[in-house]
């Protein structure tokens, strides 16, 4: 009975999507009521996608080359942000003295969205990889510090007392009790930061770059090629979703049943 209901809703979803796609196709590719320069049809988008895999026109690189360049920048900024942000968040939460001194500075940095740093970095370091990686670093760093900090702060005092009773050293308390407690929050931080990295990168590429998916869609606007823009948007969304899935997978492996 319940199963039957489920498949009925699934059918409704499929129906809804197909109606949408057919309507899109009908008004663009078929009837051409909406000119392709405003909104290309699904057939056109698919053709462009297939073509863009090998074709370097009109923006000088294939889709995969753009994607590779975007991913390199995003992931290198992300890696540095995570490597610095998470230990700092953990240390700030664990050592009260460090917290007292660093927290005020961090609170100054925190409300500024990462992409607002783009102009600063461009003036300081030019439009190369390094300035973009720095901007991404900043937005990743903030998300990582916040989440690992509040993760450690969630540690129950009782658990620490038990550890102390059994003679654990301060480091053992941190490593065996506080860090495992913080893992769910920490991984949430990793996921939020990854989203932030990807978004910030696209913004940086829209503004100043010579390669990357963001650059591709910005160029295509100037060239009146909305089909490439849509291909780019789908790529950006798809890769973003895929990266988020990777972190979810990591969560499943690391947090077995959430029994921490």
């Amino acid at each position: 009975m319940k199963n039957e209901g489920k498949s009925r809703y699934l059918a409704l979803s499929v129906l809804s999507l197909s109606v949408g796609i057919i309507a899109w196709w009908f008004f663009t590719d078929f009837l051409k009521t909406i000119p392709a320069i405003v909104m290309p049809g699904p057939v056109k988008v698919f053709q462009t996608f297939a073509k863009k895999l090998f074709d370097t026109t009109p923006d000088g690189a294939t889709l995969l080359q753009h994607l590779q360049s975007s991913l390199t920048v995003a992931l290198s900024g992300y890696a540095i942000g995570v490597l610095i942000g998470i230990p700092l968040g953990i240390l700030m939460a664990w050592y009260n003295k460090l917290d007292m001194f660093i927290r005020p500075l961090f609170d100054l940095l925190r409300p500024i969205p990462g992409l607002a740093w783009i102009p600063v970095m461009i003036v300081l370091f030019g439009i190369g990889i390094f300035s973009k990686a720095m901007v991404i670093f900043l937005s990743v760093f903030v998300a990582c510090v916040i989440n690992s900090y509040s993760g450690i702060k969630q540690t129950k005092a009782v658990h620490l007392w038990v550890g102390q009773t059994f003679g654990a050293s301060n480091f053992e308390l941190l490593w065996r009790i506080a860090i495992p407690t913080s893992l769910p929050m920490l991984l949430t931080g990793l996921r939020v930061a990854l989203g932030a990295a990807w978004t910030t990168l696209i913004a940086a590429e829209l503004l100043a770059s010579t390669r990357g998916v963001g650059f591709m869609i910005q160029q295509s606007r100037g060239l009146f090629r909305p089909d490439i823009i849509i291909v780019g948007m789908i790529t950006i969304g798809g890769v973003g979703a895929l990266l988020a899935k990777l972190i979810t997978l990591l969560e499943k492996i690391l947090l077995k049943g959430g029994r921490w």
């Binding site: 409704l12 949408g20 607002a116 829209l206």
Partner: protein, 262 residues
């Protein structure tokens, strides 16, 4: 508050003042007469310029004028998106049919960052205000919808059962149980949505506009004027902070009934 606690608070304030002072001094001496100083203005120059720009115009407006432009853009689009997002989220969470129809579209659009819509939005709506509204709408809408949806899904089935037993109809259940019990979720969504709207308006103004706080920093970049960029960043950070505080206060008032008030 006992003595020890007061002492602790005092220590905290002292430590904070110390590290901020250290940071400003480091900045001051790092930029004074060094190579970095050619690119980077000192802290006093930036802060002074920030307050001077309250009366002295940067481009078409004073700093306050630019902030007002950006805020009004956020406010308009954010309000529309909140109403639309709460409506769609709650109905999607409560009515299975609505969920089946809209969820697939929503899941397809959600992973695309609002900023990636900028080129398409410019093609559709031109370079005017409508483009900026559309982008902020997207930024706020998906966060609000997602959270309202989660809220409606998390409604306590016991309450619904009790209401049904007492003869409440569907509309009554929706308005008196589902809606109020999702309020904490909705607020969490509104908070995220507001800060992401603020980031998006900055991005949109950076890519294309002639006014607003995002324009201030991007025109600073084009003029190679680091002071102007930093003045803009102070404005962005300040407003971002105030918006977050405002939302937290409203939330604390509205859902004081919920334990923990988170």
């Amino acid at each position: 508050m006992d003595r020890q606690q007061t002492n602790q608070t005092l220590k905290r304030i002292a430590a904070g003042a110390f590290s901020i002072a250290a940071f400003i001094l480091l900045w001051h001496f790092g930029t004074k007469g060094t190579d970095l100083g050619k690119l980077m203005p000192g802290p006093f120059q930036v802060i002074g310029q920030f307050f001077r720009s309250f009366v002295k115009k940067i481009g078409p407006e004073t700093v306050l004028g630019h902030i007002a432009w950006s805020l009004s853009r956020v406010l308009i689009a954010f309000s529309v998106a909140s109403v639309a997002g709460v409506t769609l989220g709650l109905t999607m969470g409560w009515y299975r049919k609505v969920e089946a129809i809209f969820r697939p579209y929503f899941e397809m659009i959600r992973p695309i960052p609002p900023i990636a819509w900028i080129p398409m939005a410019i093609i559709w709506f031109g370079l005017g205000e409508m483009t900026v509204y559309f982008l902020i709408f997207l930024a706020a809408f998906s966060n609000v919808t997602m959270n309202a949806y989660a809220g409606a899904k998390a409604v306590d089935p016991t309450l619904v059962g009790a209401a049904k037993m007492l003869g409440a109809n569907d509309r009554q259940i929706f308005l008196t149980i589902v809606l109020p019990s999702s309020v904490p979720y909705i607020f969490a969504g509104l908070q995220i949505a507001l800060s992401s709207s603020w980031a998006t308006v900055v991005a949109a103004e950076m890519v294309r506009s002639s006014r607003g706080i995002g324009w201030v920093i991007i025109s600073g970049m084009e003029l190679n004027n680091m002071t102007q960029i930093l003045v803009g960043i102070i404005g962005i950070g300040l407003i971002g902070f105030l918006l977050a505080v405002l939302m937290r206060n409203i939330e604390a008032r509205l859902i004081s009934w919920k334990e923990g008030g988170q």
